[in-house]
């Protein structure tokens, strides 16, 4: 008998994610209805359409490019969360690792005048060290990684603000433009901007992040190291018993996760798409949205690529709602709702499997009682 289509894990994961998205948008719509019923439909469409809201074709391509520019760092953050989660660790510190990554690349480019590759490598190093702190605390002191991650997020934010104060514009709280002050540190664009109506922010960050997603997939599924890491995540004591260095594995995992999230910071700030504001008083949402993308992508690196794009798509789309009626945070609301709903994925899959089992049982029974009809029934559904 052919395997039931709905029983495939990939199909189930995709269905569950789609259910989460639809429900998230629906609840977001209901919230908008409560705020102001007049423009709710238009506003939710604006969020979903994002760059398609632009009337002219070349502007549309440019805004599509902008969404992609911000998708690359988001993808790095969600890969960081995903990688740690596969090893049984919840890396909520991705937000802080993203922040120190931003700090490392901005200070090395603006203050020390390094070119782009050394900047990237320095960022990776800083992120790895910052992530390893969480790992050290976890493996040697048994500190819950969520709590230490949050503490390090805030420590990272305050330290970054303090350090970047030396490279800020004299009259504003923003850091200097990389384009004018440190053009050698801009990520190479390889002329890709031409595809997006001359969007100069489109750089190798986008293909690099996708390549890294594939590398993570291979690392986790096809290598000995990946197997060891996952084994440590499943059962720390069993891994130790089997001769794996479980403490080293935890530290290594968080170091890699930290490097990934930090690289996200470099992918954003080394395109000069944004400037860091040294007066910001809350941790940037990039790392937290990474959690949303990782779970929405069904904890699969390839799924995460699409999920990251989707989350960034609606986040950018939030900028198109009618600001006289609603606020752009409506897209934050929708993405946090989606994470909340992702908590129900286990239940959704359970319900699906139960349903499949029921229909199969019924069919088997029918085939038994009416053997003449068995040929007709088959596996049509």
């Amino acid at each position: 008998m052919k395997k039931n289509f709905w029983k495939r894990p990939a199909v189930q994961a995709l269905t569950a994610s789609l259910i989460c998205i639809v429900l998230g948008l629906l609840i977001g719509y209901i919230v908008l209805l409560f705020i102001n019923p007049a423009g709710a439909g238009k506003a939710i469409l604006a969020v979903v359409k994002n760059f398609l809201n632009s009337s002219r074709a070349n502007l549309r391509m440019k805004n599509f490019g902008n969404t992609l520019v911000k998708t690359a760092p988001l993808l790095m953050c969600s890969l960081s969360v995903l990688f740690a989660y596969k090893v049984g660790l919840f890396n909520i510190g991705a937000a802080g690792q993203f922040v120190v990554g931003s700090c490392a690349c901005l200070i090395s480019s603006l203050s020390w005048g390094w070119s782009w590759l050394p900047c990237l490598l320095f960022t990776i190093l800083v992120g790895a060290v910052y992530g390893a702190i969480v790992g050290l605390l976890k493996s040697y002191c048994n500190v819950n990684e969520v709590i230490s991650g949050i503490m390090l997020n805030w420590i990272g934010l305050y330290t970054t603000n303090m350090i970047l104060n030396s490279v800020k514009e004299p009259t504003s709280p923003y850091t200097l433009h990389v384009t004018s002050e440190a053009p050698q540190a801009l990520l190479p664009t390889l002329g890709m901007g031409e595809l997006f109506s001359g969007n100069k922010y489109v750089s190798i960050a986008i293909p690099l992040s996708i390549i890294l997603a594939i590398i993570i997939l291979i690392l986790l599924d096809k290598t000995k190291l990946g197997y060891e890491l996952k084994a440590t995540g499943n059962n720390r004591n069993a891994a130790k018993y089997a001769g794996m260095a479980e403490k080293r594995n935890i530290i290594l995992t968080l170091a890699i996760a930290g490097a990934l999230a930090a690289l996200g910071g470099a992918f954003l700030y080394q395109t000069d798409y944004e400037q860091w504001s040294v007066t910001q008083s809350s941790v940037p949402g990039m790392g937290f949205n990474g959690i949303a993308a990782a779970f929405l992508g069904g904890l699969n690196p390839i799924g995460t690529i699409f999920a990251s794009y989707f989350i960034q798509h609606i986040t950018n789309g939030g900028g198109y709602v009618d600001l006289t009626m609603y606020s752009s945070q409506i897209s934050d609301l929708i993405s946090s709702l989606i994470i909340y709903l992702c908590g129900f994925v286990l239940f959704i899959k359970y319900a699906m499997n139960k349903r499949i089992a029921k229909t199969e049982e019924r069919r088997a029974q029918r085939e038994k009682t009416v053997p003449a009809e068995a040929g007709k029934g088959g596996d049509g559904k």
Partner: protein
């Protein structure tokens, strides 16, 4: 010095309330990482009461109304955690994180909607409560006593009595240690866990409103509560899940948080010339160090974080 004492006490009250909330949830077997979100929503509930209640009412009505608003919002919001984690076996870490993000986003969207409806040019997420705030303060020789300090003390006594001296509290703790055993003697584990989560909603909501009343007279909801929910969890771990020890831990953490507000007033601290950001970082650094030393011999409830499955042995 009075100022330092005042700020220490009010910030300790916040941490104590929220940490006790976490303590109830964890003793019932549910890790409540969503405390931060519950604080934001509780604060929103209280702030709305302060905004819409006429100033002519008696101070006691204002205080009680605000408390009820904060508690109601906190409990309703906590039930989102309950549904997902108790009835649908969701991963408690994911749901808690989602609630934190949702709390800030929902409060921002909501407050902006109210502000814009009142005045089309106002797109801020700020609620002001300068006048109502005065109802909460009693000036005793330069020391501003806040009614929430008393609330925190009462909450501590209640938590201690409920957890250790009542049948309900002991049953609740049994569900966090060994739910299967508790079930075998006729305790309804789901009901007890729901109770733990809802009580943490009450405490979290109270902590939220106390936090926004601590130093300022307006609150920008976009900022959330700056990691206070997680600091409270650190306080709870440092206090080894015991109410009295949590109170002492809260005092210590409250002191470090207060220093960042008042260090200017101390000549010797001011002369050290440490940038103010370092003082802002202090509570977080201290909590990391403290956790590093205390987590090794953790006395956490044994079954926390694991959805209850009747069939499991």
């Amino acid at each position: 010095m009075t100022l330092l004492l005042q700020y220490t006490l009010i910030f300790s009250s916040v941490l104590l309330l929220v940490a006790l909330g976490g303590c109830f949830a964890e003793h019932s077997g549910v890790i409540n990482l969503g405390l931060e979100g519950i604080m934001v929503i509780g604060a929103l509930g209280g702030a709305l009461v302060m905004r819409y209640m006429p100033l002519s009412v008696a101070p006691i009505v204002m205080v009680l109304g605000t408390i009820i608003g904060a508690v109601a919002f906190g409990v309703i919001y906590a039930s989102l955690l309950g549904v997902a984690c108790i009835n649908f076996w969701a991963d408690q870490t994911i749901v808690g994180t989602a609630l934190n993000m949702l709390g800030t986003a929902a409060a921002t969207v909501f407050v902006k909607a109210i502000n814009t409806a009142a005045n089309p040019n106002d797109v801020s997420s700020v609620i002001q409560y300068i006048e109502p705030k005065k109802r909460f303060l009693v000036n005793i020789a330069g020391f501003e006593f806040n009614w929430f300090m008393l609330v925190a003390v009462i909450a501590l006594i209640v938590a201690y009595v409920v957890l250790y001296k009542t049948k309900f509290g002991l049953r609740l703790m049994a569900c966090g240690e060994h739910p299967q055993a508790a079930d075998s003697v006729g305790i309804n584990v789901h009901k007890m866990r729901w109770a733990g989560v809802l009580i943490s909603g009450v405490y979290g909501g109270l902590g939220g409103i106390t936090y926004i009343l601590a130093g300022v007279s307006e609150w920008k909801f976009e900022n959330g509560v700056a990691g206070f929910g997680f600091l409270a969890l650190a306080v709870m771990i440092f206090g080894q899940w015991k109410p009295t020890r949590i109170a002492l831990a809260a005092l210590l953490f409250g002191l470090f948080r207060a220093l960042s507000n008042v260090y200017m007033g101390f000549d010797f601290l001011y002369n050290l010339n440490i940038p103010s950001t370092v003082y802002n970082m202090m509570p977080y650094i201290v909590s990391l160090v403290v956790l590093a030393f205390t987590s090794k011999n953790s006395r956490a409830p044994k079954a926390e974080g694991i959805p209850y499955d009747k069939g499991q042995r």
